[in-house]
């Protein structure tokens, strides 16, 4: 595993999750250096990335520990970030 490509929250999740190499326990955002070539696309699909929007460098998937290890080793994968929850910025009263 190239931990240099994993963000810190993903590293924490990896450390806290049981060692099942095949369980798809890791929802991640994948950032590539460029939109994928056909060969890279095949690698992504093999790793469980089911939808790769055409021409895009950013995609997401629920990956296993083994998939993370495979993709982090690819030079064309720039970063793997844990999917996190955002929230809307309005509606509440500031009282």
């Amino acid at each position: 595993m190239d931990y240099g490509k994993l963000d810190a929250p993903l590293a924490v999740r990896l450390a806290a999750t049981a060692d099942d190499d095949e369980a798809r326990d890791f929802p991640v955002v994948i950032r590539l250096t460029a939109p994928p070539s056909a060969e890279q696309l095949a690698t992504l699909k093999a790793a469980g990335v089911s939808r790769v929007p055409e021409g895009r460098r950013t995609m997401s998937a629920d990956l296993s520990r083994r998939d993370l290890e495979r993709l982090s080793a690819e030079p064309w994968v720039l970063a793997l970030s844990l999917s996190v929850q955002r929230r809307p910025f309005g509606g509440e009263q500031s009282r």
Binding site: A8, V12, R51, R57, F89, G90, Q93, S94
Partner: protein, 581 residues
């Protein structure tokens, strides 16, 4: 009775009618068009709007005293005795029954205060032939402000095959859009400001076409939602503006995170994204910790200002020319060991069990997206404060790895409830704009108060003493970004703004003006206002890119009593003056 077809206010009224609660009905009768409440000889009746299936005839709907206006197609008006509501609700051609409401003869203050009416009266721009995208809690497809203009809804919360951008959720078109509901109401309100067609509280781009993404608020859902809207815009051949009234603080606050980068990838000529700055202007969620050699700095962290037990996280960033070590001390005084930077060949996360709870610390050598250093800490408190009445306070401890390691660590505290805070002198009011508001191509919007008093549905008067009329809202999050980049970009009306009320939501009654409108505040409201302005600019010139749009906006914005072009970390380049655009 099919209660699901009744708008909440009408369902509640029907129940009160069944319980013979005449006093409550009388109180609301003036605003909701209920008649004969006090006349025993006549049945109590309601003036309602009927939302029908396309081509509905309603020929066989019959009930004594029921009068249905035969004009209109999908939306009909009717006067119905309360006893006849059940007959209407069970009719297969009627999808929804909504109380009528009284219109008020004034425009909302937000539009007039920034010269929008003047601009639109002069230019006749309405957002025609522009696509607007909302990635939010959904949209009320029944709301008359959006009738006939919603092209598609991608509801990521429904079970389905998804879309090319994401293999989850359901894409809805045509009459199927009614399968999606906005139970939170946030997205409908945002959509109303952006593009609502409403004679009383009109949106900024009322002729724009609409695509709504009801998102799951996870990073992948939001990114895919933005990609989806721009693809639809491309397929329709329309310039497109996307609004994002959402965000968080998991990122480095410099626009280098994957979501910000993905959104930057999407923008370009005729492709604009607006984003809320955030509402943490008065919240102590950011601290600047000056580190000088091996001296330990201690930053107090309160998991929940209301004293409840919550997990919280610490997200710290600093320049790569220093090496810091971090530890966490629990309220009991027990502490983890200091964890140094760990090489990329091993997992940089360590786990520590303390009597007060579990602590997980990650200290990777570097971050591949911006080459800065990051530490991330998850704290899971397992028991309440040992001292009743005192808030349990944890401490983040930071020191340099060696005597020459100096610098400033910017740290954000975050949790799912939004109640975690720092304490002490290292808290800092700046740098509270996180992703995606920190994306460089995004137009990031601060909030301004144009309304501080209002009358609710019961004709009770309310005020917002925490706001100053015609001033920036204190809750609006400050910039700049951690790398010094200037954010927010501009300021727009964001408190209190009256807009569309989703019939499937349950807002505070005191914020509800009538059955179709609610007043809300937040940079969530300022962002779609500005996004609407962008839609008008794209209608005029569909090739404008983010840089040109920003220049136009900045040239027509200023703080009160200041000149255009002056940046302020709270206001950005100031309040938009649409009249001269």
């Amino acid at each position: 009775m099919e209660y699901r077809k009744l708008a909440p206010s009408l369902a509640a009224a029907y129940e009160r009618y069944r319980q013979d609660d005449v006093s409550s009905l009388r109180r609301q009768s003036a605003s909701l068009g209920w008649v004969s409440v006090d006349e025993p000889a006549k049945p109590t009746r309601a003036v309602v709007s009927l939302i029908c299936t396309p081509g509905a005839t309603l020929d066989k709907v019959g009930y004594e005293g029921l009068e249905i206006n035969r004009g209109g197609d999908r939306i009909r008006t009717a006067i119905v005795p309360f006893d006849g509501l059940e007959t209407l609700a069970e009719h297969h051609e009627i999808e929804r029954i909504v109380s009528a409401h009284l219109m008020r003869p004034y425009l909302d203050a937000a539009r007039t205060s920034v010269g929008l009416d003047s601009f639109q009266n002069t230019t006749s721009l309405t957002g025609k032939d522009v696509l607007v995208g909302i990635v939010d809690t959904g949209i009320d497809p029944h709301h008359p402000a959006f009738t006939g203009r919603i092209e598609r809804i991608w509801d990521q919360t429904l079970h389905g095959p998804g879309v090319p951008e994401g293999a989850y959720g359901m894409e809805l078109k045509g009459s199927h859009i009614t399968q999606s509901r906005d139970t939170e109401g946030h997205g409908s309100h945002v959509s109303g400001i952006f593009a609502g067609a409403d004679s009383t509280y009109g949106g900024v781009a009322p002729d724009a076409r609409i695509v709504a993404v009801k998102t799951n608020f996870l990073d992948p859902g939001i990114i895919a939602g933005v990609q989806y809207v721009f693809r639809i815009g491309q397929e329709m051949g329309l310039p497109t503006v996307v609004n994002l009234s959402l965000g968080g603080h998991y990122d480095p606050h410099d626009g280098s995170d994957s979501m910000s980068q993905a959104i930057d990838d999407e923008t370009g000529p005729g492709r604009i994204v607006c984003c809320a700055a955030g509402n943490e202007g008065t919240d102590d969620i950011h601290a600047r910790v000056p580190v000088d050699g091996t001296a330990v700095k201690s930053l107090p962290c309160i998991p929940d200002i209301k004293g409840r037990r919550h997990d919280f996280m610490l997200n710290g960033w600093y320049a790569t020319d220093s090496r810091f070590e971090v530890a966490v001390a629990a309220p009991s005084g027990h502490s983890t060991e200091f964890q140094p930077l760990l090489p990329t060949t091993q997992n940089p996360a360590g786990t520590y069990d303390l009597p007060d709870g579990k602590v997980e610390i990650a200290t990777p050598e570097t971050n591949s997206l911006n080459n800065d250093r990051n530490f991330f800490i998850m704290v899971r408190p397992e028991r309440r404060s040992l001292s009743p009445g005192l808030l349990p306070t944890w401490q983040l401890l930071i020191r340099g790895s060696g005597a020459s390691d100096r610098g400033t660590a910017d740290v954000w505290i975050l949790d799912t409830s939004g109640h975690a805070r720092f304490n002490g002198p290292m808290t800092s009011d700046d740098m509270k704009i996180g992703s995606p508001g920190c994306a460089s191509s995004v137009i990031t919007v601060a909030a301004y108060a144009t309304k501080t008093t209002w009358e609710d549905i019961d004709h009770d008067q309310f005020s917002a003493p925490w706001l100053r009329l015609h001033d920036i809202a204190d809750f609006s999050s400050e910039g700049p970004l951690r790398d010094g980049a200037r954010k927010p970009d501009v300021t727009a009306p964001g408190a209190m703004v009256v807009s569309s009320l989703s019939q499937d939501s349950e807002p505070d009654r005191e914020l509800t003006l009538d059955t179709a409108h609610v007043a809300l505040q937040g940079t969530s409201m300022a962002s779609p206002f500005l996004a609407g302005v962008c839609a008008l600019l794209l209608e005029r010139d569909n090739n404008l890119d983010p840089a040109r749009v920003k220049k136009i906006l900045k040239d027509h914005s200023a703080r009160p009593h200041s000149h255009a072009g002056e940046f302020d970390q709270k206001w950005g380049y100031g309040l938009i003056d649409a009249a001269g655009l």
